[in-house]
Symmetry: C2
């Protein structure tokens, strides 16, 4: 038995979806490309629940499945082949746009089917025939939990592992500001199934490949502090990636090492993806608007986290980025 949890803002959607899903014999589930723990965990949890009710479920993700999510129960059922025959009900999970699931989905295609759109991104384009979008949910996994609760589906161990992974991924293990009392209340219910918290956290947040550790070592040895430690810069050249055997996507999170240093206001990670293709991630700690800094290079994002791509040689890009940060920080330059 699942204890009740009031989620009034969603009760109409939940009631409606619950009665639709109880009736359908089959559904195809879609999650977004470059999948994360929320998108896969939410999709698998909903799918496993519907399967337990005897429905035929098709799981789609364009892939590839990241190494650290291959432990998710049911992950082997996910296909990267577009289903040959589509059931009447298509459910998009954690996709702000239908195109996030598959690049060639167009509005013509979407007209023919019943499209259920379950997502927590504020930017969701409401492409479905039913759109349940709740930006207050820290993770789509929280929404799926509420739906299963309403449907009275028992939360199995496998469903709990998937939903717990969804929530810890999107809340940074309950540390981001999107975390709400509901996030904790749902986690309290999920852990009652006896899931291995420490093991899941190790796989998601701690376990690293050797190239990842080598890339971190390289990033820290390249770390430079400027202007009384107010600016921290990490530059990674193509040579550094080749040297460490690390993919560009393994550099995710490295900018946080620069940002973590207590005196630093502006942190930046500058990566050479190709000759003349330089990807830049900006972070700030207290007051600097790095959205403005990134927008000078045609990029953008948030006040404390933003990014851009600069199509110039690495050396020039580094110089321009540092100059832009110096100007934003009102630092008198000596040249």
């Amino acid at each position: 038995m699942i204890p009740k949890m009031p989620r009034e803002r969603n009760s109409k959607h939940i009631k409606n979806l619950s009665s639709i899903l109880e009736k359908v014999p089959a559904a195809a589930l879609f999650s977004h490309v470059s999948p994360d723990g929320d998108s896969l965990g939410s999709m698998l949890a909903l799918g496993l629940a519907l399967e337990s009710l005897g429905k035929k479920i098709y799981y789609y993700n364009a892939g590839p499945i990241p190494e650290n999510l291959k432990f998710l129960p049911g992950v082997d059922n996910i296909s990267n082949l577009w289903p040959e025959e589509l059931p009447e009900v298509l459910i998009f999970i954690d996709c702000a746009e239908a195109e996030r699931a598959h690049s060639t989905i167009n509005s013509e295609f979407l007209k023919h089917k019943q499209i259920i759109n379950i997502d927590h991104h504020v930017s969701n384009s409401k492409f479905g025939t039913i759109n349940w979008v709740d930006p207050k949910a820290a993770a789509t996994g929280e929404m799926v939990y509420s739906l299963l609760e309403k449907m009275g589906v028992p939360i199995s161990y496998d469903i709990a592992v998937n939903l717990y992974t969804a929530i810890i991924t999107d809340t940074g293990r309950f540390s981001y500001s999107n975390t709400t009392p509901d996030s904790f209340k749902i986690a309290a219910q999920l852990v009652k199934t006896g899931i291995d918290l420490a093991g899941i956290n190790h796989i998601i947040f701690e376990r690293k490949t050797l190239p990842q550790i080598k890339l971190l070592r390289k990033a820290l040895s390249n770390l430079e502090l400027l202007h009384n430690n107010s600016i921290a810069v990490i530059v990674l050249s193509r040579h550094d990636f080749l040297d460490t055997g690390a993919d560009e996507n393994l550099s995710e999170g490295l900018v946080n090492y620069a940002r973590s240093i207590e005196q630093v206001e502006a942190a930046v990670l500058i990566k050479e993806l190709e000759d003349n293709e330089i990807k830049v991630s900006f972070r700030s700690n207290s007051w600097l608007d790095v959205n403005q800094v990134a927008s000078r290079f045609g990029g953008g994002g948030h006040v404390r986290a933003s990014g851009c791509t600069i199509y110039r040689p690495l050396k020039e890009a580094v110089k321009e980025v540092i100059t832009a940060l110096e100007e934003a920080l009102n630092i008198e330059r000596n040249n």
Copy 2:
């Protein structure tokens, strides 16, 4: 109003303590030396609550207060001077032994006063006149929360910051296996006060001093992998500490970088504290009993985490430690 939360296993203790504390006019609170977030957070939360009821509270910690806990509300009230006049009631928080609070406390001293002992360590020696020891609590902060709930003290913002810090410290932001549904339920109540989760997590887990980052950089550049990456070794010499300006205690957690690499079974951090005084931390990932390995050097600990001190020159200690790990892992050596 605080919602009820059943904690039956503690209800007698809570009822008893609650009625004692409601009556006393004053109390002295003690937390353990080398304080952590649980010990200070729990002490401050209880003290602030009792102060809100008009009690006179003395806060004692032998100190020093770690940099990353100086933000705790009420921390400035903590004294490292032993109180000149002791009130009738002394409350020891998160101390497995009374000596953990102050080295010269002896049993003679303890006879004269009413000693309340609130702790979650299984090893607690029950030194108090009232001993409330609950090893099932992930943090002493959870016990304090239950007590305040019973006493009907409103959880203020400041109390919530202290209890939340206590819980995230001892659960590794809800990722260790000691985390229970209660940990999450209590967190759900605490965050309703509007505390800044992201800010607290940044201070406790992310913010680093420059020497810390330099030490991490040094540790990773000294990292060596042996025997098909089954053993990961980090050696830090006295020179490395001098070079980075880092205290030995800033090396806490570095062994986890060695342990995090996916092929590694045995990870070891070897630190030269003084000439001929080498501190060793062992970790294992899946099966190796590092308690046994440490015990060969007169140390010990747990199956997956242990330590020892070797009184020999660094080079010799490193060689002996690696040999011991090779033997434990049944690796054929080539020499």
